[in-house]
């Protein structure tokens, strides 16, 4: 059977944002991918940059001096925020993957119960927790550290 012309099955990268009438969880999927790719890019650079500590205090302070520019400071904060979002949303995904948020199978008797009634609050709580961690990290980075 051919794919629907309105909502084809394979949208490629466009499908991350333009797939149709999606609920908040589908946008969390997009956010999860964006933060994941950001974290991976940063992580690969982080391995290279932090290797400078091997060459002693001069090399380390030269590197950190370069990275003390406000642009990098904001970048560091974005990485922290991406970690909070990706980590807590990932934990939600693992709970769903393991079947812990789907409930038991039951007869469909009206009014129907949906596993979304459990999954949606968990998504909201996960993002509230991520927000609290992001605020605390920003407070330390911008007000307590410097």
């Amino acid at each position: 059977m051919p794919d629907s012309q309105a909502y084809p099955n394979r949208l490629g990268l466009k499908g991350w944002a333009l797939g149709g009438r999606w609920g908040p969880e589908r946008y969390l999927f997009t956010l999860h991918r964006i933060t994941g790719l950001g974290l991976l890019s940063y992580f690969l650079m982080h391995i290279l940059v932090t290797s400078s500590r091997v060459f002693g205090v001069e090399a380390w302070e030269l590197t950190m001096g370069f990275l003390s520019h406000p642009v990098f400071l904001v970048g560091e904060y974005l990485v922290f925020a991406a970690f909070a979002i990706h980590g807590l949303n990932g934990l939600r995904l693992v709970l769903i993957e393991l079947g812990l948020l789907t409930g038991r199978a039951e007869e469909p008797i009206y009014p129907y119960r949906s596993s979304l009634n459990v999954q949606r609050p968990v998504a909201v709580v996960a993002m509230i927790l991520a927000g609290i961690i992001i605020v605390l990290g920003g407070w330390e980075l911008f007000f307590l550290r410097h």
Binding site: G12, V54, G87, G137, W139
Partner: protein
């Protein structure tokens, strides 16, 4: 079967990353908020050389770096592989991609492990 095992490992690695990276982020970004000053005794700046040396001298921190390096590289590169697999179903492309990402992962693991171990030696020498 093989893909299912890789996917299960991806989830397990994700949970390990959440714990280990959570600890790393707490030490690097929430020292003052959480009262973890013993991890950074030279002040709230975790990037100060004295704090870098102090952490480098702790064997548990070095071991956690090595473990985090491995699980984070696997989790991240396997996730990237899944995203790139969606772009085309070509078996040849997928095999090339898998090998390329494996080479990148192993290479970064070797570099990162060397840096963590050599930095520990530097920190011990600086502290003695």
């Amino acid at each position: 079967m093989r893909e299912r095992s890789l996917w299960t490992l991806h989830i397990a690695a994700g949970l390990a990353v959440l714990v280990l990276l959570g600890l790393h982020m707490a030490v690097m970004h929430l020292t003052a908020v959480l009262g973890l000053s013993s991890m950074n005794p030279a002040g709230h700046d975790p990037l100060a050389w004295e704090n870098v040396v102090h952490r480098g001298q702790q064997i548990l921190i070095t071991l956690s770096y090595l473990l985090l390096l491995g699980v984070a590289l696997y989790h991240g590169l396997y996730g990237l592989r899944n995203i790139l697999f969606e772009l085309t179903a070509s078996a040849e492309y997928r095999r090339f991609l898998s090998i390329a990402l494996l080479v990148v992962g192993v290479g970064m693991f070797v570099l990162g492990s060397w840096a963590a171990l050599a930095a520990r030696a530097t920190a011990l020498a600086a502290g003695s």
